[in-house]
Structure formats: structure tokens, C-alpha cells
């Protein structure tokens, strides 16, 4: 465990030094993404009811967090596989999960300011009051870790040139076909069934539940199911990192 912590800390330092010159730009892009979600989705719905406003307000930070695993981590892994960093790190004496955890920690750090700013802008835009629970902290950690672990496992297993295209497709699926900014009931039955298995619904429910103090039952279920997805993601990441040709 000490070795894992030490390795993650050193690889995290590597990431921070490597990306320090563009960290501010990355922070700002996260804010732009969140604000874009808030204002962009509002154009789709001419009459914003309190329920719609609640979904948009809590959905925007969920989208920002989920994009970590859908887009950012896979692109980073694809780049690392292309420029040799992935192979180089795989020859270092570090635990298999250490590179993934170092990536996640760095990007969660970059995302947190953007997520908070997104939330504040959403509150101001839709004039709603939230009842934020302290459970939002473990919720954010669980959502980030799960999405990042799944994204890492995926990107480590497919050819790097495919990663970018797949990230675009998954991004559209999450934004338009997942119950993040609207209720699950609005989707066709078959897609609702799919979302009962996939983790996206539970990620959105968890963030929404811990920001509003509502959906207690959904929140507990979401913690449990997402916890299982998180373990699966970590196992898949570890296996992908340990895979040998």
C-alpha cells in the first residue's frame, strides 16, 4: 500500500510538471464545457420549469465529471501509447494501478474548480436553491474514479487512433441519450432497461441526490451499484495495464 501511495505521488508529480504550462487552459476549458452544457441545453427547452432547472443545474457538473472518463482519460492514454510514455511507465517498478490513479487524481484536481464554477453559474442562471450534503465529496470521488477507471481500461485495450472517434460517439451518447439532464422516464423503455445496467444513470443520480438532498432511495442504490462498477473498472484497468503482447 505504501508503495502504491509513493508511486502514485511520484507519477502525479510527473503529470503535474508535464502539464503545468497548460493547466490553466485546461481549467478554463472545463468551465467552458460546464457553461456550454447549461446554456446549450436551455436552448432545447423553451419553457424552463423548476424540475427542468433542477436537472440542468445538477446535470451540468455530472457531465463535466463523466467527460473525465469518456473523453479526457482515454485521450491521454491514447497519446501516451502513441508517444511512448505508456510503454516507458510500464517498464518502471510501479504497481499496475498507479499510472491510472495518478491520471485520475490530476484530472479530478483540474476538474473540481470547473465543476464548482459550473454549479454556481447554473444556480444563478436557473435561480434555484440546493441543499448540498457532505456526501457530495465521496460522490464526486466515486463518480470520477469509476468513469476514469472504465475510460482507462477501454483506451488501454483499443488501438489509439480509434480512441478519439469512440470518445466522440460516447460523448454524444452521454449528452443526448442518457438521463443526466432529463429524467429516465423520458427515454424509450428499451433504453431505460439499458440504463438500469449502465453506470451513467447512477452517476447522475448520485450527484443530483447529494446536491439536492432528494432522491434518498435512488442515492443509496446509486452508491451501491456505482461502487460495484468502480470495482469492475479498477479490475479491468489493472488487467489492461498488465496485458502483455
Amino acid at each position: 500500500m505504501t508503495e502504491l501511495v509513493r508511486s502514485v505521488a511520484l507519477l502525479l508529480r510527473w503529470n503535474a510538471l508535464r502539464l503545468r504550462q497548460i493547466t490553466m487552459i485546461l481549467l478554463m476549458l472545463q468551465v467552458v464545457l460546464g457553461v456550454g452544457v447549461i446554456y446549450g441545453f436551455a436552448f432545447l427547452v423553451p419553457h424552463i420549469t423548476p424540475t427542468v432547472a433542477l436537472f440542468f443545474t445538477t446535470g451540468a457538473p455530472s457531465v463535466v465529471l463523466i467527460m473525465l472518463g469518456i473523453n479526457i482519460i482515454p485521450q491521454e492514454v491514447a497519446q501516451a501509447r502513441t508517444n511512448g510514455r505508456y510503454l516507458y511507465v510500464s517498464a518502471l517498478p510501479v504497481p499496475r494501478l498507479a499510472p491510472m490513479l495518478a491520471e485520475v487524481l490530476f484530472w479530478v484536481f483540474v476538474q473540481i474548480p470547473g465543476t464548482i464554477v459550473t454549479l454556481v453559474i447554473a444556480i444563478l442562471r436557473f435561480h434555484i436553491h440546493l441543499h448540498v450534503s457532505l456526501l457530495v465529496i465521496p460522490a464526486v470521488i466515486l463518480v470520477s474514479l469509476t468513469t476514469a477507471a472504465l475510460g482507462y481500461a477501454l483506451a488501454a485495450s483499443i488501438p489509439p487512433p480509434v480512441t478519439s472517434q469512440l470518445a466522440s460517439v460516447l460523448g454524444i451518447a452521454v449528452m443526448l441519450f442518457s438521463p443526466i439532464n432529463f429524467p429516465l422516464s423520458r427515454l424509450p423503455h428499451w433504453l431505460q432497461d439499458v440504463h438500469h445496467v449502465l453506470p451513467v444513470t447512477y452517476m447522475a443520480d448520485l450527484i443530483r441526490g447529494t446536491l439536492t438532498g432528494q432522491y434518498d432511495t435512488a442515492r443509496t442504490t446509486a452508491f451501491a451499484i456505482l461502487g460495484a462498477w468502480c470495482v469492475a473498472g479498477l479490475v479491468l484497468s489493472s488487467r489492461a495495464a498488465a496485458r502483455r503482447g
Partner: protein, 306 residues
Amino acid sequence: MLLDVIELTKTYRGGVRANDGITVQVAAGEVFGLLGPNGAGKTTLVHQVLGQLVPDSGSIRIDGDDVVSKPALARELCSFQPQAAAPVEGLSPRQAIDIVGRIRGGSKEEVRRRGTVLLDALDMSSIADRPVPLSGGMARLTGFCMAAVVPGRLVILDEPTNDVDPLRRRALWQLIQQLANDGAAVLLVTHNVLEAERCVDRLAIIGDGRLLAEGTPASLKSNLGAPLRLECTLEGTETPDLPPWLTLVAANGRRLIAHVQISDVNATMSWATAAQDDRVLAEFALTPASLEDVYAAWIKTEGVAA
């Protein structure tokens, strides 16, 4: 032997056999050269030793331990400089060396001290703290320092001298030799045959995935059958008729190389001087045969694509 590679065979998907029954052994304190043309299977061998590829058959032991079944142990015991430049974008050379040295288990102070020694020896002090885009040579030297700052029992260097200027290359060879003197086994993959000759204790020549020859530079040269080489630059591009005692090794444009026996030195000097007077040769040199001759002879004999 610290590294024992026995009958190693590796076939990639698609049927390309990159390694075909290769046996290589490297002792602690020894610099072992792995020579061969592009695509010969050298890097495939390295990645199997590092545990990144799984062989079809054969065994790899480091200090007696089977590292095919224990890849984590291979990463522990080996430090590695990759063939491509080390991924150090955004970091200064010192930061990159510090981080890898700490990851390899070195203390902060020891890593800093050892890193400074390496950077000074390679005349990199002036750029050591600048996180600027590095030239190809500097990035490669930084990669070497990352492998050497806390060296493994086995240090694997894949083409360490590529892109490096002559003076720093000389310093680099000394540092490689020093790694072996300090007790590490050094597996050196290189194309730079002439310079490697000064540094390696033993070497293997690989072609088309097979081990073609193995031994000390002296033993391989003695097997060559001709201790001297005549290297000529022609006035024109047409290869002249050579006297029967000269064995033509290579003729490429205006360059011509032939092997010479010691008993034929006087006759060769007379022929070459006359050819120079007749403006057939622009210049010539008669030198001891080198490892490059051994390498060229084996690759030519085996019909390996160079």
C-alpha cells in the same frame, strides 16, 4: 550469469517470427552488445526481458529468477532506456531524472547527487533545469540518465548514442563502462558498431531473429580470416580489377572495402600506391579489421536483409 536467455522464440500475430531460438547470457560487470540490422529482433528481445512481451517458448532468468512468470520482478531488476526518446516533454532533465530515480527506490538526496554527477559528466549542466523542448540528442541523454540514476542489476540501453554529438558520445561510453564496473550487467543494443567495439566485453549479432554469432570482439575478429582491411575511395564510380589476394567485402559508389592477409601487406601497399598514382584511387587506408567487418561479413554470409 545475471541474465540467462535460453532458446527464446517469439512470433507476432501475422506470423512474423521476431526471435527464433535465441540464447544470450550476460554476466554482472559485463557490457554485452546486441548488434543487428533494423528489424533483426533486438528490441523484441529487450521487451521480453522487461516482461512487456511474452515469449512463445524458451526461458528468461535474471539472477536465477524466471521473469517470464514474474514480470514485476523484471521491472524491479532492470532499468531501461527505450529506443525512442524518453517521454520527458514539459519536464527539465533534472526533474525527469529525479522522478524516475525516486520511483526506482532511490532516496531524494542520493538521486539528486547521482543525477548531478551524470548531468555534469555529459556536459548537460547548463540545460539541466530548463523545462524546454530538448533536442533529440539531449532527450536521449536524459533517457540514459533516467536509466542510470538508480541502475538496476541489469541495465538495458536501446540505441543510447543515436543523435548524440561526438564529444558527449565519448562521455556516454565511459558512463556505460562505469555502470558495468560498478557491478551492473549492461545489455547494449546498438547500430554503432565501431564505437561499441571499444566498450563491449562480448557481443551477439542477430539477423532475421536468429543468433548469427556470439563472442568477444577479438574472438569474432579472429574468426573473420583476415586481420586487415583496405578501405579505398575511388576516383570514378567503376570498381577496378582487384588483385587476387584481396577479398572484396563491399563496393558502394566510390567506396570500396576489401580484406587483406598480413602476408599480403607489402603487395597491397604497392598495388594501392600504384593505383593512386594512376588516379584510380583517390585515397586508401590499410587498417586492422574492425567489428564492423565482422558484422558485415555475418550479415552478408547469412543473407540477412540489412
